[in-house]
């Protein structure tokens, strides 16, 4: 019987949140009842009634007894008022007073504990979110802070709820470090598993207007499994999220993009980190200085890509409208199309100059945040009658040196091959050539391509002299990849050291032209440390990818644009010498440069001065003087010569 009672008590104590309070009420009642037994031991005797603490206001009955017992339980000081009462009455009073102290102590303990728990819950974000139309970030990694900074620049007014399994203290440190840049944002961090449907309900995923899934990292390793599970939950019926909500997901490995697209029912943008990094690195190799242009365009937060629909342009050619719109660069055309009963938005970059605008066509424009596109009314529409082929030296990379290796190596080699016009030789200098070769063979069938030759050589920083034996100066491009294989050495520190070695080698060899060096960095602050090294471009995923994610969650139609700009064989951002288009050093209006570039079926995004200054979406009415060394930044169809 006692064991059974103990078991019930155990069940009650572990399952009921009210147990402590029920226990106190029960104990109080029990003690009061015991104390009331003083009635039978002369509580209202003539002797007892002389004492100050014994009253018989209601005829020395039940109520007076209850009052006496209860009073001693709640007020230990009342014990002294029984002076002169019979011994047993004093004994009961003492018992009640002592039990009262114990019960009050327990009650205070429970209350303090409840307050502490509530405060802890608030600190770890265990509360249930009651929001509608909020931004929801599921998962947290080093891109998170950069995304929030962009939201702050875009003046997002809605509350931003962040659900992550990570310790919220670390997240709060991220927020505190960027508190200035995040001013105006309403951020609510909440701790919990993003792959749990109850947790998603807790953060009101169903009522969120924008959902962003970031790859959660566990013990420094990012996994796509949780992201894919969360994607499935979000897209599963009415419980997940509203049909009108916009979602974007970050997937680390390109191999998992297919399954993520299935989980997202192919209706939301999926961004692959590895794909983005490898493609960006190759584009930087093809056009040195590309990362600075890309950063200015997409990561500075100064520019936006949106739609502009001027009326009365039906029948007007793309070349005409491109030169006639100021305070914006017309990047392309967008329209809605019905395919198999499904309406989709189609976006095309850099259409042919003779494309005639029709009904339903909208212009995709790049503009500064604080400027609006306007038609230059005094400008006559400039028609480009005939396009010409641009006879320029196109990037042709045939000899590549890759120093250090990571999971992006296979994708990068594949991307280099996609762009290669002739045979491609890649030398991979890494710590463990056998492992990397095995990994590459598993992910990319190098032998299948007759045009590709990949060689692996051992290279470790402890034997830095080995770098010279590789003859880096003889390659078309050098890639330095982020090596995170050693937990004790920061990947950026390792990259920085390799860059210093290359710098020393460049100075010692005294070669006239050192190949472009493209480095993968994990932290944008590391970039500043590399200024004196031969590094021509740095690909910082936190910087570039976070902006892409932040823009895609707001404007999903930009997905095709982002993909197109990095994929081989489509439209790309090119950086070309000014002399290809203009042979005069006289000042000329930028509308004329726009027209000259359109003649080659390209679109001017801006220009880069010899000094490195990048000017995008310039005022077309302004006269500019160009000199040798200045470059034009264009959107162009990739042509392989």
């Amino acid at each position: 019987m006692f064991k059974k009672l103990s078991y019930y008590l155990f069940i009650l104590s572990t399952t009921s949140r009210l147990f402590p309070y029920l226990l106190i009420i029960g104990l109080t009642s029990f003690v009061v009842m015991i104390g009331m037994n003083a009635y039978f031991f002369g509580l209202f005797s003539a002797e007892a009634l002389k004492a100050e603490g014994v009253d018989n206001v209601f005829g020395a009955g039940f109520v007076d007894t209850l009052w006496w017992s209860f009073k001693h339980l709640l007020d230990p000081g009342a014990f002294s008022e029984n002076y002169g009462a019979p011994f047993f009455v004093i004994l009961f009073a003492l018992f009640n007073s002592i039990m009262g102290l114990i019960i009050t102590g327990a009650l205070i303990g429970f209350i303090v504990s409840a307050i502490q728990t509530a405060m802890d819950n608030a600190r770890v974000g265990a509360a249930t979110v009651r929001e509608k139309g909020h931004y929801l970030i599921l998962g947290w990694n080093r891109k998170g802070a950069a995304i929030l900074i962009l939201f702050a620049k875009l003046k997002v007014q809605e509350r931003i709820v962040i659900l992550t399994e990570h310790n919220l203290d670390a997240l709060r440190v991220d927020l505190r470090q960027n508190s200035r840049a995040l001013r105006g944002l309403r951020v609510l961090p909440v701790q919990g598993a993003i792959g749990s449907s109850s947790e998603l309900r807790r953060v009101a995923s169903k009522h969120a207007s924008h959902v962003m899934l970031l790859a959660e990292s566990k013990a420094g390793v990012q996994s796509d499994l949780t992201t894919i599970k969360a994607l499935t939950l979000l897209n599963a019926g009415q419980e997940g999220m509203s049909g009108s909500a916009q979602l974007v997901a970050e997937i680390v490995s390109k191999d998992n993009v297919g399954i993520a697209q299935v989980a997202a029912k192919r209706s939301h943008p999926i961004v692959s980190t590895s794909d983005f990094i490898s493609k960006s690195m190759v584009q930087c190799a093809r056009y040195p200085g590309y990362s600075a242009v890309y950063s200015e365009l997409f990561a500075s937060g100064d520019f936006v890509i949106d739609l502009f629909t001027p009326h009365g342009l039906e029948g007007v050619l793309f070349s005409e409208v491109a030169t006639a719109i100021n305070h914006a660069v017309v990047l392309g055309i967008s329209w809605h199309e019905e395919t198999s009963g499904k309406r989709r938005r189609v976006s095309v970059l850099n259409p042919e100059p003779d494309y005639d605008l029709g009904e339903g066509d909208e212009l995709i424009v790049l503009r500064k945040q604080n400027e609006s596109p306007e038609l230059i009314l005094d400008s006559k529409f400039q028609t480009v009658e005939e396009t010409r082929a641009l006879s320029i030296e196109r990037p042709n990379i045939t000899e590549v040196l890759v120093i250090a290796a990571n999971q992006n190596l296979a994708l990068m080699v594949g991307e280099l091959l996609n762009h290669a016009v002739s045979d491609l030789r890649v030398v991979v200098a890494c710590r463990d050539p056998e492992v990397e070769k095995k990994s590459l063979d598993q992910r990319f069938n190098a032998a299948a391509s007759k045009r590709l030759k990949v060689e692996f050589v051992e290279f470790d920083l402890v034997e830095s002299s080995g770098l010279e034996r590789l003859n880096p100066h003889l390659f078309d491009v050098i890639f330095v990849m982020a090596d995170e294989s050693d937990a004790y050495i920061d990947a950026d520190s390792r990259t920085l050291l390799i860059l210093f070695l290359l710098q020393e080698l460049e100075l010692r060899l005294g070669v006239e032209k050192f190949p472009p060096v493209v480095a993968e960095l994990l932290n944008s602050e590391s970039k500043d440390l590399c200024l004196e090294t031969p590094m021509t471009d740095a690909v910082v995923s936190t910087e570039l990818l976070s902006v892409q994610l932040a823009q895609l969650v707001r404007d999903p139609y930009l997905e095709t644009l982002y993909n197109e700009l990095l994929n081989a064989g489509g439209i790309e951002i090119g950086i070309r010498e000014i002399s290809y288009y203009i042979d005069s050093d006289e000042p000329l209006p930028l509308s004329l440069l726009t027209q000259k570039v359109l003649e080659f079926n390209e679109t001017v995004l801006g220009f880069r001065r010899k000094s490195g200054e990048i000017i995008l979406s310039p005022d077309k009415r302004v006269l500019e003087r160009f000199e040798a060394g200045d470059h034009v930044i264009v959107l162009a169809q990739q042509v392989y010569l």
Partner: protein, 124 residues
């Protein structure tokens, strides 16, 4: 009756652009994303003309063109090869594979339409 044109192109933007422009010119357009699908569509839809990109996944344009021309049932369908590789050798390679004509990307629509009409008119 509108001529049926099959565009075999893996790049979504190029496909969308060309498709929209040809539709506006009155053609009936269907699309295929790679060489293998292109061949299937040629057999099932019997288009009047094919615009075939050469750098395609799964089965490249040269192989698909050669296979189409080796298949008696669809050999008569004219094929215009399209490529971003603006080399003379590419043109020769495409014509050797059996393409009836050749054009480079980005396309000059007026020039392409001329080539298309010439082939469509000459088609038996």
């Amino acid at each position: 009756m509108a001529h049926k044109i099959l565009i075999v192109e893996d790049n979504e933007m190029n496909r969308d652009m060309l498709s929209r422009r040809l539709k506006r010119k009155g053609y009936e357009v269907s699309i295929a994303e790679d060489g293998a699908i292109g061949l299937d569509r040629m057999r099932s839809d019997r288009p009047d003309l094919v615009l075939m990109d050469m750098g395609l996944p799964v089965k490249d344009g040269w192989t698909a063109t050669a296979e189409a021309k080796a298949d008696a049932e669809i050999a008569s369908i004219p094929i215009i090869a399209l490529t971003a590789h603006a080399l003379e050798a590419d043109k020769v390679k495409a014509l050797e594979a059996g393409a009836d004509d050749f054009d480079t990307k980005p396309v000059n629509l007026a020039g392409l339409l001329e080539k298309m009409e010439a082939l469509l008119t000459a088609k038996p």
